[in-house]
Each structure stands twice: as structure tokens, then as C-alpha cells.
């Protein structure tokens, strides 16, 4: 019974996201594609950051590599950018493994800083290594379907669903319990015989893969990449973290929820109040961290309590 109930909203939601978009205008389809892209990235970040507790400030590395994997094939050999959907995420994983082996020796904030440093280093190298990466000029690819947005939407939707499913399966297996154990107390986890570095890598690999896949989708959809957009610290690495925090780190649906709110909010605010919207976002982030540190999904009980606090008083009064 309980199990049935759990699947009903999921199926209804699934029908909605598949059936509605064809009837929407181009702009709304564009926003939906962005939402799905951010859901992929936030979900991927959450696996490493939220479940395994390794807060990475440099996931733009994987996003950028995912985007550049196909971009470089296009630039040097003129291959279709769709190859990027395979090569990009694989490149992110191949480079991610040595990064993980080095940085996982560091803990907490030092890991975060090392990733931040790596993210910036990649951005600088991709800007300056002109013969290989075309530098700040960037790479132009072509869109397969021209102005048609719907195919891109269904592709990102499928990847987003896949990423959530993969995280769900991982978290509900032995891996998930190991990840949470590492997050809660690394020394205790090690004491219990969990090879922590190896399990952090097991969290990093899918995380890097899906972030890279989002990068490859970005490259295909926007048909233009350059180092400062795909390796950007504040617009990619940090926004991934904020989207996860908004929804709730360490929850399955939190990141997706946060990513959706984040995208809708930033689009709506930009239309409504112009440049001031860039100020509103960090302020919202401050408020979330101060008052709802576990995010909207994670602190749902707290929110419910805050709104229902009057009720018992009324009942008691009578």
C-alpha cells in the first residue's frame, strides 16, 4: 500500500514532464531544458557532496571537460558533436580519477579548496593552451535540429531521470551506506574497515560522469563553448552547490527540486527586476544557509512546524 502510494506521484509527475512540453512555447521549452541540465548537475554533485560529504568547489572541471571532450573532436577532426555525449563524460571520469586519488587525501574544507584551485587551474590552462583548445575564442559546434528544442528537452529529461535513478540505486545499496558512513565520521568508517579513498572514488566516478554528460548536453544545445563559461567558478561550480543546498543535500529529490527552483527563480527574477536579480540570489543563499541549513526538503519538518505552530495553541485555548 505504502509502496503503491509512493509511485503514484512519480508516475503522475513523469506523465506531466513528458506530455506537457510540446504544447509550450520555445522560451518555456528552453527554461525546461535548463532545469533538466541543472537537475543532472545538482544530482551528480549531491552524490559526492551530499551523500559522501566531500564538498567539491570545483565540479566545473568535470562540466568543462564534458563539454570540451566533444568540442575538441569537432575542432580537430570535424566529428559530430554527438560523439561528445560519449567522449565528454568519459574524459571527465578519466581525468577525475587521478584528481580524486590526489585530493581525497585532504579533508573537509581543504578538499573543497583543492578542488577550487583545480577548477581555476583548468580554466586558465584551457584559456592559454591555444593550439589544442582554441583558447578564449572558444569552439563553435552546430545544432543538429536547428531551432527545434523538443528533442534536446527529451534527451536532457532522459539523462536527468537516469541520473536520479542511478543515485537512487547507489544510495540504497551497500555503497550508499558506506558513503554516509564516510560523511558522518571518516575515522570511524575507516576503523570499521571501509577503504575510504576507494569509496570516495566510487562516489566521484558517477558524479563526474553525469556532470560531464551535462557538459556535453550543454555543448550540443548551446553549440558554443569557451573556457570562461564552462569552467566558471561562480556560475557553474558554486551554483551547483547552491542548487543542492536550496533543495537539501543528502536527499534524493532535494537537488532536483533545488535546481528547478533555482532555474525558475533566476529566469523570473531576471525578467522582473533586471540586474538586481544577481544580488537577490546570493542573499537567498545566505538566508537558506542561516535558517534552513539542510535545504527545503531536508528541513521540511522544520518548515511544517513553523507554519503549524499556532494550531495547537488554538486547540488548547478551547
Amino acid at each position: 500500500m505504502a509502496k503503491k502510494n509512493r509511485f503514484v506521484p512519480l508516475i503522475l509527475g513523469g506523465i506531466l514532464v513528458v506530455a506537457i512540453p510540446p504544447f509550450l512555447g520555445g522560451y518555456f521549452q528552453h527554461v525546461l531544458i535548463l532545469i533538466m541540465m541543472w537537475i543532472i548537475m545538482a544530482t551528480a554533485w549531491n552524490l559526492l557532496g551530499g551523500y559522501c560529504g566531500q564538498v567539491s568547489f570545483g565540479h566545473a572541471v568535470f562540466f568543462g571537460l564534458g563539454a570540451y571532450g566533444g568540442g575538441l573532436l569537432r575542432l580537430h577532426w570535424g566529428l559530430s558533436p554527438w560523439w561528445g555525449m560519449i567522449v565528454g563524460p568519459l574524459l571527465a571520469v578519466v581525468i577525475g580519477i587521478p584528481i580524486g586519488l590526489v585530493t581525497f587525501r585532504l579533508r573537509g574544507a581543504y578538499f573543497a579548496l583543492a578542488m577550487l584551485a583545480l577548477g581555476e587551474a583548468f580554466r586558465i590552462v584551457f584559456t592559454n593552451w591555444v593550439p589544442v583548445t582554441a583558447g578564449a575564442v572558444g569552439i563553435i559546434t552546430s545544432r543538429t535540429w536547428g531551432a527545434e528544442k523538443l528533442p534536446y528537452y527529451y534527451i536532457t529529461l532522459a539523462i536527468a531521470a537516469l541520473s536520479i535513478y542511478v543515485v537512487y540505486r547507489l544510495v540504497h545499496s551497500k555503497f550508499g551506506y558506506y558513503f554516509v558512513a564516510i560523511r558522518e565520521d571518516q575515522d570511524a568508517a575507516e576503523g570499521l574497515g571501509i577503504p575510504t579513498t576507494r569509496y570516495k572514488l566510487y562516489a566521484l566516478i558517477p558524479s563526474a560522469f553525469f556532470t560531464g554528460l551535462a557538459g556535453a548536453v550543454y555543448m550540443n544545445y548551446f553549440a558554443y563553448i569557451e573556457p570562461h563559461t564552462v569552467f566558471n567558478l561562480s556560475a557553474v561550480s558554486i551554483m551547483m552547490i547552491l542548487a543542492v543546498m536550496l533543495g537539501g543535500a543528502g536527499t534524493l529529490w532535494g537537488p532536483a527540486f533545488g535546481a528547478a527552483i533555482y532555474t525558475i527563480l533566476s529566469e523570473a527574477l531576471r525578467a522582473a527586476i533586471g540586474p538586481i536579480s544577481y544580488l537577490v540570489f546570493p542573499i537567498i543563499a545566505c538566508l537558506i544557509i542561516m535558517f534552513l541549513p539542510d535545504g527545503i526538503i531536508g528541513d521540511w519538518e522544520k518548515i511544517k512546524r513553523a507554519f503549524s505552530r499556532q494550531k495547537p495553541v488554538y486547540v488548547g485555548g478551547e
Binding site: 557532496g49 551530499g50 560529504g53 564538498v55 590526489v102 585530493t103 587525501r105 585532504l106 573537509g108 574544507a109 581543504y110 573543497a112 579548496l113 583543492a114 577550487l116 584551485a117 583545480l118 581555476e120 587551474a121 586558465i124 590552462v125 584559456t127 592559454n128 560523511r183 567558478l233 561562480s234 558554486i238 552547490i241 547552491l242 543546498m245 537539501g248 543535500a249 543528502g250 540586474p275 538586481i276 544577481y278 544580488l279 540570489f281 546570493p282 542573499i283 543563499a285 545566505c286 544557509i289 542561516m290 541549513p293 539542510d294 531536508g298
Partner: protein, 291 residues
């Protein structure tokens, strides 16, 4: 040979300015044990204060440094007391909520400044800015040299403050062992607030020293924040001497990278040092120097 000497001189001069900003960071990190990402943005605010003083009242940035330091001390103190303090010790799933809070504050401050001053590049150009004199074939830029001299004065003053006064000793005690300091009657919370203000004021001083030799825009702080971390990690947390030597090492390493490798890769040198120090010399230069 001239090139080598020139590289070393430029590196030392710029490294001294880095050191002032980084000492502010190392003090804060030493006492609070958190990573403070708002440091660079506050430095940028100080630079804008100096710029406004210069443009509207003709106050030279070296003099504008004093009001800027006072204002930034107050801002830092209040930010710590009313925002960052609230988040400390709260149980959350993500362990880095304080770090994220300072980051969000840094982004908010940047956007506020951008709304007021726009993203245009600005600079406080004085006739003095282009002066330089020669040592053999090597040129030494006068504003760099003066900034370096002022930076060293500040570092020396701070060192005296930390070693000779009661307040300074309390800061060092809190940094070394917070619990023990509390047992000895140190008001650790007040000291933390004060240290945050002091560290921010030092960032303001560093910003004011940079203004005559550099240009200014709201995002100017990103590389400096990164340099602060590199120096703090290189020098060891909470150590003034470590931060000074770290600043000089980074300054020289960067100019070497720029001269002999490629100017574009200048910042990569710092990141490479950063990761190597984290991996092979945890504790930083402090461990080699001693105390």
C-alpha cells in the same frame, strides 16, 4: 642575469603586498578554524572606498588606507558577530555551511558594489604611479617599492601587537587552543569578533596598497582570494612569519612562472604550489621555520 634579478625584485615587491592581505586571512583562519571566502570581496570594498576618497576628495590611497581600515574593521566585526557566528556549531548535513555562507556573502557584496559602481575598470592614477628608478639595468617601480615598504611596516606593527600586547596574546592563545584560552579567562567570542575585524582591516590595507599599482573592478578579488589561501596554506595557519615568507615565496614563484614560462600561466604556478604543499607539507612553512 638582469632578467633573473628583475624577476626576483618584482616578485619580492609584489609578494610583500600579497603578504599583508594573507596575514589578515591567516589570523582569521587561525582563530576560527574556518575558511573565509569573504576576505577578498572585503578587500575589494576597501579599494572602492579608497578610490572614492581619491576621486572625490583627492586623498591619496596611501592616506585613504586609514579610514578604509577603520570602516572595514567595523564591517568585518559586524559580519562575524551577526552572521557567521550564528551558523557556527549548527548541525547540518553539509559540514561546510560556514564556508558557503562566507561565499554567498562575498557574491552578495560583489553585486552590491557592481550596482553602485558598475563593472567598469577604474584606477587611481597619480603621476607617481609611473615613476621608477634603476639599479644597474634593473628597474624598480616606485609605487611598488613604497607599497612594499608600507606593507613591511604594517607586518612589523602587527607582529609587535600580537607578541607584546594583552589583546594580541589573547588572539594567539585563542588560535593555539580555544578551550585552554577560555579556561584562562579569555573571552573567546569577543576575541573571534575582534580578530575577524582585524583581519578584514588588514585586507583593506592590502587593497589600498594595491590600488596605486593596479586597476579595480568588482570581480578583482577572485585571484587575490586564491593567493590568500595559497599563502595561508604555504605559511601555516595563524602564523605571521609564515604568511610573510609564504607571500614572498608565492610572489617570486609567480613572477618566475610569468617570465620563464608564460604570463598566462602565472596563476597556475600558485595552484600547483598549493596542491603540492597540501599534499607534501601539511602545516606549511611554519613547520620548517619553527614558530
Amino acid at each position: 642575469m638582469t632578467l633573473l634579478g628583475q624577476t626576483i625584485i618584482t616578485g619580492i615587491l609584489i609578494g610583500g603586498i600579497y603578504a599583508v592581505i594573507a596575514i589578515g586571512m591567516t589570523l582569521i583562519m587561525g582563530v576560527m578554524k574556518i575558511i573565509n571566502l569573504v576576505h577578498g570581496a572585503l578587500m575589494m570594498v576597501a579599494m572602492y572606498i579608497c578610490l572614492v576618497l581619491f576621486k572625490s576628495f583627492g586623498v591619496h590611497p596611501y592616506l585613504g588606507m586609514i579610514p578604509a581600515m577603520v570602516i572595514l574593521f567595523a564591517i568585518g566585526y559586524l559580519l562575524q558577530k551577526y552572521f557567521i557566528e550564528r551558523v557556527s556549531g549548527v548541525e547540518t548535513i553539509l559540514p561546510e555551511s560556514q564556508v558557503l555562507l562566507t561565499l554567498a556573502m562575498a557574491l552578495a557584496i560583489t553585486e552590491i558594489v557592481r550596482l553602485i559602481f558598475s563593472s567598469d575598470y577604474q584606477s587611481a592614477y597619480t603621476p607617481f604611479s609611473a615613476k621608477c628608478f634603476y639599479l644597474g639595468d634593473m628597474s624598480i617601480s616606485a609605487p611598488y617599492l613604497l607599497s612594499f615598504g608600507l606593507a613591511m611596516v604594517l607586518v612589523a606593527g602587527l607582529h609587535l601587537f600580537l607578541t607584546k600586547t594583552d589583546l594580541g596574546r589573547s588572539i594567539r592563545a585563542t588560535s593555539q587552543d580555544r578551550d585552554a584560552a577560555i579556561y584562562m579567562g579569555v573571552d573567546a567570542k569577543r576575541i573571534t569578533n575582534f580578530t575577524f575585524g582585524l583581519g578584514t582591516a588588514l585586507a583593506a590595507a592590502g587593497g589600498a596598497l594595491l590600488l596605486p599599482v593596479f586597476y579595480l573592478f568588482p570581480d578583482v578579488w577572485h585571484p587575490y582570494l586564491a593567493k590568500c589561501f595559497i599563502i595561508t596554506i604555504l605559511g601555516g595557519m595563524g602564523s605571521t612569519v609564515g604568511a610573510l615568507s609564504g607571500g614572498l615565496v608565492l610572489g617570486i614563484a609567480e613572477t618566475f612562472g610569468a617570465t620563464y614560462w608564460s604570463p598566462g600561466y602565472r596563476d597556475v604556478v600558485g595552484f600547483v604550489i598549493f596542491i603540492f604543499v597540501l599534499l607534501f607539507l601539511p602545516g606549511g612553512l611554519k613547520r620548517i621555520i619553527g614558530r
